[in-house]
């Protein structure tokens, strides 16, 4: 249907529209008009993706000079594929309606592993291996060698692409990863480099977060994206953690050992080259004197060694004299390495800031701040000069050099924690140096700074005001949308007590309590008797789950549950978990019924949807607080308090509640779906917890569903499930939660729609 959104003609590829989609598009339009950033929360299953795409594409078509590009960031490859498929539907609709030829170019970009078509390289199993192998075939000096020595293998796909690919633009259309591969095969071009080149002039790019947020990659892939782009982060409820992870470095003794060997290899290579080709090293030296401006010449293929965000002025400067010659640099690295080794030989925990660390290193081994800053860039240059092909081996020293650059560049927002052993195994010495980023805004700042509109959206972003604070930006729109429903298809219940009136909670003091564990078991048992097909239960941690399940086994609860349903358990092993998932779905499908025990923050809680019968109930045992004793977390909390005036408790609760919402949200994936959401902890009933749930869940949480006993839960659950099992057709939704064009245009519907969005 064709919609008029605030004066903009939007083509929407479906016959019906949800009221909240309309409202969402209105808000989005306002954000784009203001050329600002936005935070939008809308429940999953209400068609966020298509709303985003149709509005932004319409905007691009209407104002081609205002918005030139859409950069859509998603988390996983399947999600990326899903977005591209929606886009394809939209574009088909456009061509059908306007009968004009499609001149849009949209493509997905992923890692080499997903895009490589080289017969040998693509057969490799791990991403790192593929990258390494690809590098050894396409690096600039390898190709230079190939010129003089044709027996040196190169990748014919890349050669072909390099020869002609850049001149011939990729024809407009929608390309997902497979389409790119097909296109590459047909032309004999490398799809990966083709895609990376094509994103520069594509209208829509769909790729993973990391291409924008991880400074090591972003610098290469996304550097030349136009300022007039709209950037969308979908499923962005964890964006702060992604930012932090991309800037943090962990160094163990093993890393250092491997680094040691790297340094030795470097040294040997240098001395060998010195004998054979001293001119080369001299040439490098003079280049370094001139500074790092040359940077981009052959960088495209030498991807790993790019530096983390270096301030521009550094690139203008010359590399300091002390590390300019190759031997000196290796010597420098050796010294740095020895220093790190010495630091790891400790028996107590040390925590210090970056300036402290720099001062200490200066005192102990006389390493200045300046050469440290150039470490990453210098190493990159050296590796290129030495023509070392198999770069994967050098990951350890690369990591160390990144660390050196980061620690000397940022004095704020980072902390260094050296622990002699892991928290959970206090007897086994396993020293780790955490260089931990505490400020997610550091990684994302360039994104907000550079692009005119950045949209952060997800099903669970509540409380909305916290994201702008921790990411340090000023949004022009902050809105939360509810799900309009023809029937109340979600039923959140807070269970606070067992039938024996013992409070149910995973609070640290009582979590080992026999009565609590038994009540949790009874809850699961009772639910397994009334909920059809699949139940997903989430625990706060693996350890807690193991304890509880063991205890249930001893009490015979497990045996009783198994009479109703089969039990599957998520483990830390990915293969085992996917096996369990598969069997779980099979059991749901054929009527046997199953329970999946899993862990909040685990793989299941984030990426896997339990549509319809795969998840008729979700039970959240306890409040999924992050492990609060971790020093990294403590440091981060302190930083948040000092810098952003966010109290520790607020942040912890926010973090726990967003994960709880994520977990329970797994069950409802659309308006025809239905499911029970059971929060089994009395602490959920408190206003500070409840208030942090997304609005679309809170709305259905009445006073009558707080602090229930198990019996009451069973009663309510039974009633709900029976109600939901009544026949429900599309006509029932029409006019209420599903609108035709005429219905949408009626006056009172527009009024109702205005209420859907709640501005924070």
């Amino acid at each position: 249907m064709k919609l008029n959104i605030d004066g903009l003609l939007v083509y929407f590829p479906y016959d019906y529209i949800y009221p909240e989609q309309y409202s969402y598009m209105l808000e989005l339009k306002r954000t784009l008009d203001a050329k600002g950033h936005g935070v939008l929360e809308m429940p999953s299953g209400t068609g966020k993706t298509i709303s985003l795409l149709s509005l932004i594409v319409a905007y691009q078509k209407a104002y081609p000079l205002e918005v030139t590009k859409l950069v859509y960031c998603s988390r996983t490859v399947p999600e990326i594929e899903k977005v591209v498929e929606e886009l394809r539907k939209l574009m088909d609709y456009y061509t059908k309606q306007t009968e004009a030829k499609n001149d849009f170019l949209a493509l997905a970009l992923s890692s080499r592993k997903n895009l490589c078509i080289h017969p040998e390289v693509s057969a490799l199993r791990f991403g790192k291996e593929v990258d390494g192998k690809c590098h050894s075939l396409t690096a600039s000096y390898i190709r230079a060698q190939h010129h003089s020595n044709p027996s040196q293998p190169v990748c014919q796909f890349y050669e072909e692409f390099d020869a002609v690919g850049r001149q011939v633009p990729i024809p407009p259309g929608i390309y997902n990863l497979d389409d790119l591969k097909d296109f590459g095969r047909r032309k004999g071009w490398c799809p990966y480099f083709l895609a990376r080149y094509a994103i520069l002039h594509a209208n829509i790019v769909v790729y993973s977060y990391h291409y924008l947020l991880d400074p090591k990659i972003a610098d290469l892939v996304s550097k030349e994206l136009a300022k007039k782009s709209v950037v969308v982060f979908d499923e962005a409820h964890n964006i702060d953690n992604v930012c932090i992870d991309s800037m943090s470095v962990n160094i163990t003794r093993r890393t250092l050992d491997r680094c040691q060997t790297n340094v030795e290899t470097l040294q040997n290579t240098i001395s060998r080259i010195k004998e054979t080709d001293a001119a080369k090293l001299r040439e490098e030296y003079s280049r370094l004197v001139e500074g790092l401006k040359e940077a981009n010449v052959a960088r495209e293929t030498d991807m790993y060694l790019s530096n983390p965000v270096l301030p521009d002025e550094i690139l203008q400067e010359a590399v300091p004299g002390s590390i300019r010659t190759a031997e000196h640099f290796v010597g420098f690295m050796k010294r740095f390495l020895e220093y790190l080794k010495a630091r790891l030989r400790i028996h107590h925990v040390v925590q210090e800031s970056a300036p402290q660390f720099l001062k200490d290193i200066y005192e102990k081994v006389c390493i200045d701040r300046k050469p440290l800053r150039f470490c990453a860039e210098r190493l990159r240059s050296l590796l290129r000069t030495l023509e070392i092909a198999d770069i994967a081996d050098f990951s350890a020293i690369t990591l160390i050099s990144h660390f050196a650059t980061l620690v000397s560049t940022y004095s704020k927002g980072f902390t260094i924690i050296i622990e002699p052993f892991e928290d959970r195994t206090p007897t086994i010495a396993n020293p780790v140096l955490h260089f931990s980023c505490m400020d997610p805004s550091i990684a994302i700042k360039p994104v907000f700074g550079r692009f005119q509109s950045v949209i952060i959206t997800s099903g669970t972003l509540s409380p909305l005001d916290i994201y702008p604070r921790i990411l340090d930006f000023r949004p022009v729109t902050v809105a939360s949308f509810t799900m309009t429903l023809a029937r109340t298809c979600l039923c959140p219940l807070i269970v606070g007590r067992g039938n024996d009136q013992v409070a149910m909670t995973s609070k640290f003091e009582t979590r080992e309590d026999f009565a609590v564990i038994r009540n949790y078991g009874n809850l699961l048992l009772e639910m397994s008797a009334i909920v059809p097909d699949g139940i997903v239960a989430f625990f706060t941690s693996y350890i807690y789950m193991e304890n509880i399940v063991a205890s249930w086994y001893e009490q015979g609860i497990l045996e009783n549950i198994q009479r109703n349903k089969l039990i599957f358990i998520e483990t830390q092993d990915a293969a085992e978990t996917s096996m369990a998932l598969e069997k779980y779905q099979e059991a749901c499908e054929n009527g046997r019924g199953a329970i999946l025990l899993s862990v909040a923050r685990g793989k299941v809680s984030e990426g896997i949807d339990f549509v319809h019968h795969y998840g008729r109930a979700v039970i959240m045992f306890g409040v999924p607080y992050v492990y609060t004793q971790s020093r990294i977390l403590k440091a981060r909390l302190e930083y948040l308090r000092d810098q952003f005036q966010i109290r520790e408790n607020d942040f912890l609760t926010f973090d726990a509640m967003r994960h709880a919402a994520q977990c329970v949200g797994r069950a409802i994936r659309g308006k025809t779906d239905y499911g029970l959401m059971i929060f089994a902890d009395k602490r959920y009933a408190r206003a500070d917890k409840r208030g942090k749930l997304p609005r679309w869940i809170q709305e259905h949480l009445t006073d009558g569903s707080l602090n229930l006993t198990i019996d009451e839960t069973v009663q309510l659950g039974k009633h709900f499930l029976r109600q939901m099992a009544q026949p429900f057709r599309q006509e029932d939704q029409l006019g209420l939660s599903l609108l035709t064009l005429e219905q949408l245009q009626s006056e009172d519907m527009l009024q109702k729609i205005a209420q859907i969005a709640q501005q924070a």
């Binding site: 059809p532 009479r563 009527g591």
Partner: protein, 388 residues
């Protein structure tokens, strides 16, 4: 069933929050509650049922009753099993009342097995006796959907066209892939309907969708009864089934008195296979073809295979052939005229009124449903017929 009020008793209905229902109605954005939708569905059924469709008049129905552990649940009083069996008795009576020339069979499933309670037969007495007896049986283990469907579908082959499953459990213990069986059922054109007692189970959804049956889940006992009664009415015949002429016999009832010298007491053929109370009787129905004697109708002649019915029986199922046309629905505001229902004489208060197209009399919602579901003829038209 007379003592059962419209809805289950208040204290049995769980935690009902009437104030919440009220609130939902007012708030606007969320007002369509499930009950509203249900009511719409009910109306729709009435108006839909009377299209020009062919109905299968001779039905062969198997009812599968779940007797697993979950039947001991007490959310229906006194428990699910007793309640179900009681309703089943009522159903069997009603079934034969409305479909006099049809047959029924009953199967129970528990402990992963299926067990035939009664074989396919056209005589309500045997079924009722079996149902009464089944009340005392214990409910154990899990049901097996596969075994019970298999038990029906395979041996009796093409004869069976309908299966009704009353499914209480949320799990089924199957020895093989049930989806294969569903394919077979589909190929045999067997329609499987399910009435769920607890919640919607995926496998039943698929089963009914694939075989073209209906799937409903009960809300309370009165709803259960309602759903069960839906299956009393014959379903539309599948288009592929041919029109075939069926030979039927209309035996005369011969009454002989003891004083008559020629009359000799004889055994009825229907006592051949039943173990209970064989007796010599004087009168009975005699098959017009082979003169075999039966005490009850309808029945299939044991000797020559002729279907024996009585004319009134056949006539009773006529209302399926000449259904009462749906009444026209008009909103109350638009309706002008006297504001009371022709049938119950109550004041018209509902949102809409219903007008009979033939006699132009108006009725309220409840009466409309009653007329179409039970009476099958319009009281207004009857009156005008008589007076004219």
């Amino acid at each position: 069933m007379d003592e059962e009020p419209e809805r289950a008793k208040r204290w049995e209905g769980g935690y009902e929050r009437t104030w919440e229902v009220l609130k939902e109605d007012e708030s606007g954005s969320l007002k369509a509650s499930v009950e509203d939708i249900l009511f719409q569905a009910k109306r729709k059924r009435v108006s839909e049922g009377h299209g020009q469709v062919r109905l299968g008049m001779m039905r062969h129905l198997f009812v599968i009753i779940d007797s697993s552990r979950s039947m001991e649940d007490q959310d229906l009083r006194p428990n699910r099993l007793t309640s179900t069996l009681k309703l089943m008795e009522f159903f069997v009576e009603e079934y034969f009342d409305q479909n006099p020339i049809s047959q029924i069979g009953i199967i129970t499933t528990k402990n992963k097995r299926a067990e035939k309670l009664t074989d396919l037969a056209g005589n309500p007495k045997k079924h009722l006796a079996a149902l009464k007896k089944a009340v005392d049986s214990t409910c154990v283990g899990e049901p097996s959907l596969y075994n019970s469907l298999n038990c029906v579908a395979l041996p009796s082959g093409t004869e069976i066209k309908e299966i009704l499953v009353i499914f209480s459990s949320l799990t089924t213990c199957d020895p093989a892939n049930i989806y294969e069986l569903i394919k077979t059922l589909n190929a045999l054109k067997i329609r499987v309907s399910v009435i769920g007692l607890s919640a919607e189970v995926r496998v039943c959804t698929i089963l009914t969708r694939e075989t073209g049956g209906s799937y409903n889940v009960i809300l309370d006992e009165s709803h259960f009864k309602e759903l069960l009664m839906l299956h009393v009415k014959p379903p539309p015949a599948s288009s592929s089934s041919e029109c075939s002429l069926i030979r039927m016999g209309f035996p005369q009832h011969v009454i002989a008195s003891m004083s008559d010298q020629d009359a000799k007491p004889s055994f009825s053929m229907s006592h051949l296979d039943s173990t209970g109370e064989p007796g010599l009787t004087l009168g009975g129905y005699y098959c017009p073809q082979c003169r075999a004697k039966y005490t009850e109708l309808p029945v299939e002649c044991k000797v020559c295979g002729l279907t024996l019915v009585s004319a009134p029986h056949l006539a009773r199922s006529f209302h399926h052939l000449f259904p009462l046309e749906a009444f026209q629905e008009t909103p109350l505001e638009e309706y002008e005229g006297e504001r009371f229902c022709e049938a119950c004489q109550g004041e018209l208060k509902d949102k809409s009124v219903f007008t009979c197209l033939a006699c132009k009399k108006v009725f309220c919602v409840e009466c409309d449903l009653f007329i179409h579901d039970t009476l099958h003829c319009c009281p207004g038209c009857m009156q005008t017929d008589r007076t004219s």
